[in-house]
């Protein structure tokens, strides 16, 4: 008579982990071995008890919530991407609008803008006289003080 298999070997055979035919060998051995027969009986009983519970499960109803939560997460991810793109665009637009004074935007520097006298002269109704005008324009950084121009 072959030596008794270990409990783990018997268990593997009953649970279907062992190679095909192994359970038959153990059954043959158990027919003349009370200890192994006893263990195989219990292993089969446990297996049956667990297996028979499976049929009672009805779990498909759980999918809807899982799908909704996953979709919500996907949506949040997409929203984050869209927001990031929108923020990047805003930054790019702002940089283009205010980032460079040479592109025609308001000059924010406190440095006076060099201007020629002709640029600042205003003809008063074709009289030939040049008006006096302040050379400071609030908000545009031109600060050269008041200048008075003589008639030509």
């Amino acid at each position: 008579m072959k030596p008794c298999p270990s409990r783990l070997q018997l268990e593997s055979a009953v649970l279907g982990d062992a190679p095909a035919g192994r359970l038959g060998e153990y059954d043959a051995h158990a027919s003349s071995c009370a200890r192994c027969r006893h263990e195989l009986n219990w292993l089969r009983a446990e297996s049956a008890l667990f297996a028979q519970r499976h049929a009672r499960e009805e779990v498909s109803r759980l999918w809807e919530t899982v799908d909704a939560k996953n979709a919500s997460k996907r949506g949040r991810g997409l929203t984050r991407v869209m927001l990031a793109i929108a923020a990047s665009l805003l930054v790019a637009i702002a940089a283009g609008r205010f980032g460079s004074g040479s592109r025609g935007g308001p000059h924010k520097s406190s440095e006076p803008v060099p201007m020629s006298l002709e640029m600042m002269s205003v003809d008063q109704g074709g009289s030939g006289e040049l008006a006096t005008m302040p050379c400071y324009t609030p908000g545009f950084g031109i600060a050269c003080g008041e200048v008075e121009y003589a008639s030509r």
Binding site: R7, L8, L15, G16, D17, R37, H38, N41, W42, R44, A45, E46, S47, A48, L49, F50, Q52, R53, H54, R56, E57, V59, S60, L62, W63, T65, V66, D67, K69, N70, K73
Partner: protein, 197 residues
């Protein structure tokens, strides 16, 4: 290109698990649904066994699959989806248990289990509602960790090594815990199985 071709192949019960995982990782929601259908029964049953409460198990099952979906890209061993899902479920379950601070953990580690237990009568094994209830009660009498290890082996068929990884135990500890749980379960079920002496 291969992924695009794979998407054309319809999913059915014969679609290999690895293929489903790959397609789900590629963002195919139908493939993830197929993985859900294949494993939700196991996951829910495991969570019901550990948490001992149907509605909580439902909630934990949903949480498990939401986490699985979020972590899918990290799954490298695509053929081991079941063990991976049960690992997530195990974390969810014990987080739930920690949140329920009022629960008293059963400690059956010192229960007398060395008595010789007679064999069961196979003819009494046809499961009816009463026997199912007794079986559930017997499982519930085990400590949560020991119960988890037992059902991972006997109900879900995980290898001892997988259970050790999943539970964070050594292999000898897994074998010992499952052995003790099994003897305790047999002792509790004996009166209901009409055992022969």
């Amino acid at each position: 290109m291969l992924r695009l071709l794979a998407r054309k192949i319809p999913i059915d019960s014969a679609t290999p698990e690895e293929s489903l995982v790959e397609r789900a990782q590629g963002g195919e929601s139908e493939a993830f649904k197929a993985l859900f259908d294949r494993h939700v029964g196991s996951v829910r049953r495991f969570l019901r066994d550990v948490l001992r409460d149907g509605p909580t198990a439902d909630e934990a099952t949903q949480e498990t699959f939401v986490r699985a979906h979020a972590q899918l890209s990290k799954l490298e061993q695509r053929a081991r989806v079941k063990a991976w899902l049960l690992g997530i479920a195990r974390n969810v379950a014990f987080e739930h248990r920690r949140a329920r601070r009022d629960e008293v953990e059963l400690d059956d580690s010192e229960a007398p289990i060395e008595a010789v237990i007679p064999s069961p009568d196979p003819e009494r094994l046809l499961l009816d509602r009463e026997l199912e209830r007794q079986f559930d009660t017997a499982l519930g009498a085990l400590s949560a960790h020991r119960r988890a290890a037992l059902v991972l082996r006997l109900d879900h068929g995980l290898a001892y090594e997988e259970i050790a990884t999943l539970m964070g135990w050594t292999l000898p500890m897994v074998k010992n815990e499952i052995h003790r749980a099994r003897l305790k379960l047999r002792e509790a079920m004996l009166p209901h199985l009409g055992a022969r002496s």
